[in-house]
Symmetry: D2
Subunit: 198 residues, 4 copies
């Protein structure tokens, strides 16, 4: 249907998160009609991104490298609490937590979750995680995976793998979210909200 | 547009919770086409309901009166913990909590919420609540209003009104609900989830 | 969980169109808390409805009977065009068409649709329809079933059944609805819109 | 919050159609984690697109230029009907119509719509359109704008501007879309469906 160069790009854009073929074709038309100047700006920004961004050798958080250092600004920040480690599924979860300004420890990005069906722990950085913990002095490890089935399964695996290290392991509190109504809350959420009352 | 008898019923059904005129007219056509037997069953069930149901004189929970007693089965149940009181906005919230089977105390149904704009505390049973608490021996009062703006405003009012009674007052725990994702959680919910970790 | 009289009514309300158990229980609490005066008004309105409403012996439209007549105001209206018949699935479709004020003929309410799987034509008033058409002088029969799979299947059945009567049979025009966008229109709709251009 | 190179790209992606800041950041993380090979493929595909694609000098449809020609394959196709012109808002509408395989004439892409508030006809290629029509031998001009307020306003403007050229001007048929139900159709759609019955 489409010319080959459009078709090719529709396929590549369709692999972007949340993008389907219908949105992909809109992206292509957007690019076709973009001013040359703005097109060049986009292209160079994408190229710059790959040059500028390194992956932190400790927590796997992408960061803008200013020198030869391999640690991201959070891991490098001497004011952060080095006895606290928060394990998250992905980069954006780290950002969500940072936005709360309530957590002052370090992070570790797992790079995904495992699923019940094919519990392939090699998909996530579980070995790297164990290695980091062994070589550090954490006093509490907070498993901050999502409260989804995959997130919970992953959390259980991590708990099992870290058990013998005898560090305090905690999980995020469950309860009513802001705006939540009792009428629509599931029984587990409501039970947690009761247990966590204060 | 519609015959008078239909129009009248559309108006009355439109006052039912969640029902708009479009649904109301569908209800009317449903009633028109209902078998005589099923129509009579519906009518007598509605009439029976009003005869059978009393409002509990302590907690305001509707219940099926089997004798002359004025207390609902929960308030009457000697195995319930009489030192715990859970304050809810409405009947259905009580049911949601009962379904968790985690709470064994008594309830008090406020009958609604107050809003910030017109903080009319007479809309809810705040005086009745204070009276009940004064005449009982509660050791903890759990304010289980919704986590909405109205629910929070109402909770603050209740806290203020009960302060001088020097009973322990608690609120439901806030946090990630089951199925919740960090990426989509608001900052307050996430902060609460961190504070409530365990 | 609920008292018997509540449970019974939840079951009966759950059979109302669009109503599930969650809404049904809200209806019950609404009824329990209703003022006696308003409750009586509702009850008498429902009773009145069944007394006041007859089903038209020609088109099966419910109407408020003022005398012994068996025809609804539309069928009785001498200004309506007796050569035009519009076949609809249900009462509310008739009302939708009347609201447009563009159609001046008569109606026939089928009472439902047939489905491809179990093409049980006895579910709808197809025999009654044929009988009415034979005994009248219609020059055009408009099949105004929905454009859904069931509606289309039903329309095809009616066309087949009426074929030998050699009356002009028409279907509603297909095309872009008001507010519709080409980008989101399916191919059949768009083809119809092109064919029906003017 | 984000490193500068990420922030910059979030801004640029946020200008893509349907993309907000939340999706933009997910795109950035997707790009950061992409294999070098796949990243290069994406980059070269984007660059190729701009090199390969020309805008048709007649209809403004983007096409893959194989030689020095300035016309897209549709405009160049000798089997297409040169007496029919279909005016659409944007590229994707042309594609939607082509998919129906029902239209065999030429196209003209307006490049947008005008709005009632600021009826700035310079935003769309109305002068170019008039010029093309004057220099061609069209016998019918089909205004295939969306059925939205903006689309209808634009169609009215085009009709006014083309009036004096005394060519037959048509609009897409309005009616029930495939899958549409009478109960939920607005009155104008239903009126059109009745008028367009066949």
């Amino acid at each position: 249907m489409y010319p080959k160069s459009i078709q090719k790009l529709v396929e590549l854009f369709s692999k972007f998160p949340t993008v389907g073929p219908r949105t992909a074709i809109r992206f292509v038309f957007y690019l076709i009609k973009l001013d040359q100047e703005k097109f060049d700006e986009l292209l160079s920004s994408v190229t710059d991104l790959r040059k500028a961004i390194k992956i932190c050798s400790f927590c796997f958080n992408p960061f803008e490298a200013l020198d030869d250092g391999n640690l991201c600004p959070i891991c490098r920040d001497i004011s952060r609490d080095k006895t606290l480690l928060c394990i998250v599924e992905k980069e954006i979860d780290l950002i969500s937590i940072e936005k709360t300004k309530k957590y002052k420890g370090l992070y570790f990005i797992l790079g995904g979750t495992i699923s019940l069906k094919k519990s392939d722990s090699r998909k996530i950085r579980i070995e790297k995680l164990k290695e980091k913990i062994k070589n550090s002095n954490f006093q509490e490890v907070i498993i901050a995976t999502n409260s989804t089935t995959e997130g919970e399964t992953t959390a259980l695996l991590i708990e099992r793998e870290l058990k013998h290290l005898q560090i305090k392991i905690t999980r995020l509190g469950r309860g009513l979210p802001i705006g939540g109504e009792l009428e629509y809350a599931d029984e587990d959420t409501l039970s947690s909200a009761f247990e966590g009352r204060k």
